[in-house]
Symmetry: C2
């Protein structure tokens, strides 16, 4: 990555409430046009998972779920909604920790997070929750394609969700889907300014972009999209699965 | 935090190589003046740990270290410099994982990271390594005070280092010291746009600021300082220890 000395992040204010089958590329293009937000082929469009899930209909009516005995029992023990616990369990392929009322698990995509990405905030209707998109990389590529059709520009896309971390307090926005660039920069082979190899230094660029956008995306703000200007990303067809540590490298399973 | 719709990050290009006893506030003020980088009382100054350690003389001459048997043995087994392993062990108050050539440990500050923050990259001289500042919050407050004296502005300061994460590949820049603002925003008591409480939602603002700055700080770039404009942070005397999960809440010890 060549180094920008200036970065600009802009969150359009006029993205409407997203509904199933809405075209995100259209909503984003229209908002940017309306608000005179410029972009170019170096722009990155960062999109909160919540609106991707809504557009893709990744919304579950909790009334349709029959909680398992395990879900019922955990919900009772920790004063939770058994249907939500059931949904979290169904969205998990492996439980990492299930204690103290928390469920930290691995989703089918390989992401380790709380509640398997199930979220009720900012979902209309009291019986509904969003789940993560089926394939967030495919979602990112679809938006990228839509933006290309509408603007003629091949714009990089990041889809984000807010995850907790081991050892650190608070949530940060991370990348769960990417299109158009290398999400983890590999500096292997490069040297520091003293000429020593930078072997261990692989910045998770996509996660840093997501975190930066997170500063503008606070949940109650209705700003689910951020345009980033000033990055020079390495073009790539890589996916966000590059950000997922493989089981054999994972010391914290 | 009131929501900015636009953020700007600028990395001055003329911060010189930092030496022990240099005044960072002076170096930063002078670079910004030279490069016409504007700031105001809402600005946040983000500083890479490396130059803070250099300015504070937190540099160790590896030749002065007598490696322990444990360090010698681990170094031999994994083809590492025994003096570096020794330094990492001395900088650790608890080993979290020590296998496969990695050392993930808890520093005296409570940070869990690889190599206890010991780093040789961009340190002049082949026998030297930097260690983390003794008290990064105190370092941040000292810079804040220096900036106040030079500019009349009470500017928030973040000191950052790049940490790996459990479960995710690649490094991200995180906050290890803060001054002047609330590093973890607590949205407890606030509601989402549907009126539901946002109980679990505490964005780690300081870490998102650090990550954003990380996009401009890539190691080989000589850009160890980033000025962030457009945030409305909650003024606070809180420290970065708020970002450290307490042992009793830590499920991954």
């Amino acid at each position: 990555m060549s180094i920008a000395s200036e970065l600009k992040l802009i969150a359009p204010a006029t993205i409407p409430e997203v509904r199933p089958e809405d075209c995100l590329a259209t909503l984003i293009t229209e908002a940017c046009l309306r608000e005179n937000i410029p972009w170019n082929s170096q722009s990155v469009v960062v999109i909160a998972q919540k609106i991707v899930s809504k557009a893709e209909g990744a919304i579950v009516d909790l009334r349709t779920l029959q909680p398992s005995v395990r879900a019922e029992s955990y919900a009772r023990e920790h004063d939770k909604d058994a249907r939500l616990v059931e949904l979290v369990l169904r969205q998990s392929r492996r439980i990492v920790r299930m204690e103290r009322g928390l469920i930290i698990s691995e989703t089918r995509h390989g992401f380790v997070c709380a509640n398997a990405g199930v979220d009720r905030s900012n979902v209309p209707g009291e019986h509904f929750a969003t789940v993560l998109p089926e394939d967030p990389d495919a979602s990112a590529r679809a938006v990228q394609k839509g933006l290309l059709e509408r603007t003629g520009l091949d714009i990089a896309v990041v889809i984000t969700d807010t995850f907790g971390r081991a050892w650190r307090v608070g949530l940060v926005n991370v990348a769960i889907g990417v299109a158009g660039f290398q999400p983890v920069e590999n500096l292997q082979g490069q040297t520091d300014r003293e000429g020593r190899p930078l072997n261990a230094t692989s910045p998770a660029i996509a996660d840093e972009i997501a975190a930066a956008a997170g500063l503008l995306m606070a949940k109650n703000a209705g700003r689910p999209v951020v345009i980033v200007e000033g990055l020079s990303l390495r073009v790539s067809e890589a996916t966000a699965t590059q950000l997922v540590r493989s089981p054999e490298d994972d010391l914290f399973r």
